[in-house]
C-alpha cells in the first residue's frame, strides 16, 4: 500500500477553550474521493479548517505527503497543493467572476486547470466573466467557487457543503460535474449534509459524531443502520 497523501493522527482541534475534535485518525489515499458526514456541529467543518490551516493544530497531527503541516499557515498549505471550496461559497464581492478565478490561480502551480479549461467546464461563467460575482445565481456562484479552487491545480480539494442553499436541480448538475473535476487523479474530501449524494460520489466515508470518528467504511458497503447509529449515537 502506498503512503497516504494525507494522514491525520489523533487530531485535536480547538476554538479558544472549546475543543471541537478529539483524536481524529484518518488516512486519505492519492486520487481517492472521501466523504465526511455527520450531524451539525459534529466537527466536519472544523476538520477541513484544520487541514487547510485556518485552525492551527499540533504540527505532527496532520501529515501531507509525509510532511507535518498541522501548524502551517493557510497560504503555505494552499501553495503546497490543498485547495478549499468554502462553505457558503464566499466569493470576493469586489472582484469580477474572472478575477475571482484568477486569484485562485495565484499559487502558480502547473496543471490542467486554467481560465479556458474552467470556462469549458462551466460555459456560463465565460458569458459572465466580467460581471460582479455577487450578481450571479447561487449555483453559478458555486461554479465560481469550485473553479477558483481548481485554478490552483491542487492535489487535494476540500469541498465544504457544496449543496447548501442550492436548488435540487443545481445540486444534481454540480454533482454530475464532480467526476470530471476530480477525474484527473485529484484527491477530494467532500463534507456533505446530503448523505446519499455524498455516498454516491465517494469511495470511502467517515462519519463524525461530537468531534470523534464514529464510523469508517466503503461508501457502497455501509448500511443505513450503521450510518444512523454513527450519526446520532449508539442507543
Amino acid at each position: 500500500m502506498p503512503d497516504p497523501i494525507l494522514a491525520l493522527h489523533g487530531l485535536d482541534a480547538f476554538y479558544g477553550d472549546f475543543q471541537a475534535l478529539y483524536g481524529v485518525d484518518m488516512t486519505v489515499e492519492e486520487g481517492e474521493i472521501l466523504a465526511i458526514i455527520g450531524a451539525n456541529g459534529a466537527g466536519k467543518t472544523t476538520l477541513l479548517r484544520s487541514i487547510s490551516g485556518l485552525i492551527r493544530n499540533a504540527p505532527e497531527q496532520i501529515l501531507y505527503r509525509g510532511e507535518a503541516i498541522g501548524a502551517g499557515r493557510p497560504d503555505v498549505i494552499a501553495t503546497a497543493g490543498i485547495a478549499m471550496v468554502p462553505e457558503g461559497r464566499q466569493l470576493f464581492p469586489s472582484l469580477s467572476v474572472e478575477e475571482n478565478l484568477m486569484i485562485g490561480g495565484r499559487t502558480g502551480r502547473a496543471g490542467p486547470w486554467n481560465l479556458s479549461s474552467i470556462y469549458k467546464l462551466f460555459p456560463i461563467l465565460d458569458e459572465r466573466r466580467h460581471q460582479a460575482s455577487t450578481s450571479l445565481s447561487g449555483g453559478q456562484q458555486q461554479m465560481v467557487a469550485i473553479g477558483r479552487a481548481l485554478m490552483s491545480n491542487p492535489d487535494i480539494i476540500l469541498f465544504d457543503e457544496i449543496s447548501l442553499g442550492l436548488a435540487p436541480v443545481i445540486i444534481k448538475d454540480i454533482y454530475a460535474a464532480l467526476p470530471n473535476i476530480v477525474g484527473a487523479g485529484m484527491t477530494a474530501l467532500i463534507v456533505e449534509q446530503d448523505i446519499s449524494k455524498a455516498l454516491s460520489v465517494s469511495a470511502r466515508v467517515y462519519c463524525l459524531q461530537e468531534g470523534r470518528v464514529s464510523l469508517e467504511g466503503r461508501s457502497q458497503q455501509v448500511s443505513r443502520e450503521e450510518i444512523s447509529r454513527a450519526y446520532f449515537g449508539a442507543s
Binding site: G53, R73, D75, M84, P86, Q90, S94, L95, R106
Partner: protein, 287 residues
C-alpha cells in the same frame, strides 16, 4: 476676482490634501487600519527630503528618488514587524499602537532636528507662476495638483488592473478565504503599507517645499487627510481628490474672509458634510 482666486488656489491646495488622504484611504481600504501616525510620517518624509537635499545638494524633487523607496521600505517593515500584530477584532491595539508611534516619531524628529521650523529650498520652482487671464497660478501648486492626479490614477490602476490590486481587494473582502487562495496576508498588508508610505513620501516632500514645517505639525496633516477621506467617501480614491479640493477651497475662502478663519472653515465644511452625508459624498465601502 478675489473669490475666484481663492477658489482656484484652494482647488490646487486640495491636490496636496488628496495626497495626504490617499495613503490613509488605501490602508483603510485594504486592512481597515487607521494610522494615527500618518501625519507624523508625512512630516518624517519632509525631514528625510530636507536631509537628502542638504547632504547631496540635490533639488528636493530629485530627493524623492531616495525618500520614496526609503519610506516604502520603512512602511513594509513597520507593517510586518509591528502593525500586523495589532490587527484583529479589537480596535484598541491598532489605534493605541499607532498613537504611541506618533509620539515616538514626533519626539525623535524633535531630538534630531529641534523644534525650529525648516524649509526645503526648491529654487525658482517656489516662486514661478503662470498667468491665466487675471490669475497668477503658482507652478508648484499646479505641479502638486498634477502629481496628485497622477498618483491617484496610478493607485486606481494598481487596485483595479493588476494582480497586486486583486490581492488587495480579495484580502480586504475576506482575509480567511484570501489566505486559502495562497495569499500571505502579512505580506499583502506589508505591501499596502509600503505603497501608502510611498505616497506619503511624495506628500511630505511637496509639503516641505511649499511651506515651512516642524515636528509638531503632523497631527494637523493627519486631520486634513482624514477630513478629505471622509468628505470624499470611504474607499473611494477619486473621492479623496474631491474631498481634498473641497477642504482646500473651504480653507482659502475662509482665509479670504478672515485669516483666523482659515482652518476653522475647513473643519466646518467637514462637519457639515458629516451632518448631511455621514458616509461622505461618494462612498464605496461602509466604515
Amino acid at each position: 476676482m478675489e473669490w475666484v482666486n481663492a477658489v482656484v488656489q484652494g482647488t490646487l491646495l486640495g491636490g496636496l490634501y488628496a495626497l495626504f488622504a490617499a495613503g490613509l484611504s488605501l490602508i483603510f481600504g485594504v486592512m481597515r487600519l487607521v494610522n494615527i501616525a500618518h501625519g507624523d510620517l508625512i512630516v518624517l518624509s519632509a525631514y528625510l527630503g530636507l536631509t537628502t537635499t542638504v547632504a547631496l545638494g540635490v533639488h528636493p524633487l530629485l530627493a524623492l528618488v531616495l525618500v520614496l523607496p526609503v519610506m516604502a521600505l520603512f512602511g513594509y517593515v513597520l507593517q510586518r514587524v509591528l502593525l500586523n500584530q495589532t490587527l484583529g477584532q479589537d480596535i484598541l491595539p491598532p489605534l493605541l499602537v499607532t498613537f504611541g508611534l506618533s509620539v515616538i516619531i514626533q519626539n525623535a524628529l524633535l531630538e534630531t532636528y529641534t523644534a525650529d521650523p525648516q524649509k526645503m529650498d526648491a529654487g525658482a520652482l517656489e516662486t514661478a507662476s503662470v498667468s491665466v487671464g487675471p490669475l497668477a497660478l503658482g507652478v508648484l501648486p499646479l505641479l502638486t495638483f498634477g502629481i496628485a492626479i497622477v498618483v491617484i490614477a496610478g493607485l486606481q490602476f494598481i487596485f483595479y488592473r493588476t494582480a497586486l490590486g486583486r490581492a488587495f481587494r480579495a484580502t480586504s473582502d475576506n482575509q480567511e478565504v484570501a489566505q486559502l487562495m495562497g495569499l500571505n496576508k502579512a505580506h499583502i498588508f506589508g505591501l499596502a503599507m509600503a505603497l501608502a508610505l510611498a505616497v506619503t513620501a511624495i506628500a511630505g516632500v511637496l509639503l516641505g517645499i511649499r511651506t515651512s514645517f516642524d515636528p509638531s505639525i503632523g497631527g494637523a496633516r493627519l486631520i486634513f487627510g482624514f477630513e478629505a477621506v471622509i468628505i470624499g467617501g470611504l474607499g473611494n480614491l477619486w473621492g479623496t481628490l474631491i474631498g481634498g479640493i473641497l477642504l482646500g477651497v473651504s480653507q482659502t475662502v475662509g482665509a479670504a474672509i478672515s485669516p483666523g478663519f482659515q482652518l476653522l472653515a475647513g473643519h466646518i465644511t467637514f462637519l457639515v458634510i458629516l451632518a448631511l452625508r455621514p458616509n461622505g459624498l461618494f462612498p464605496r465601502i461602509s466604515g
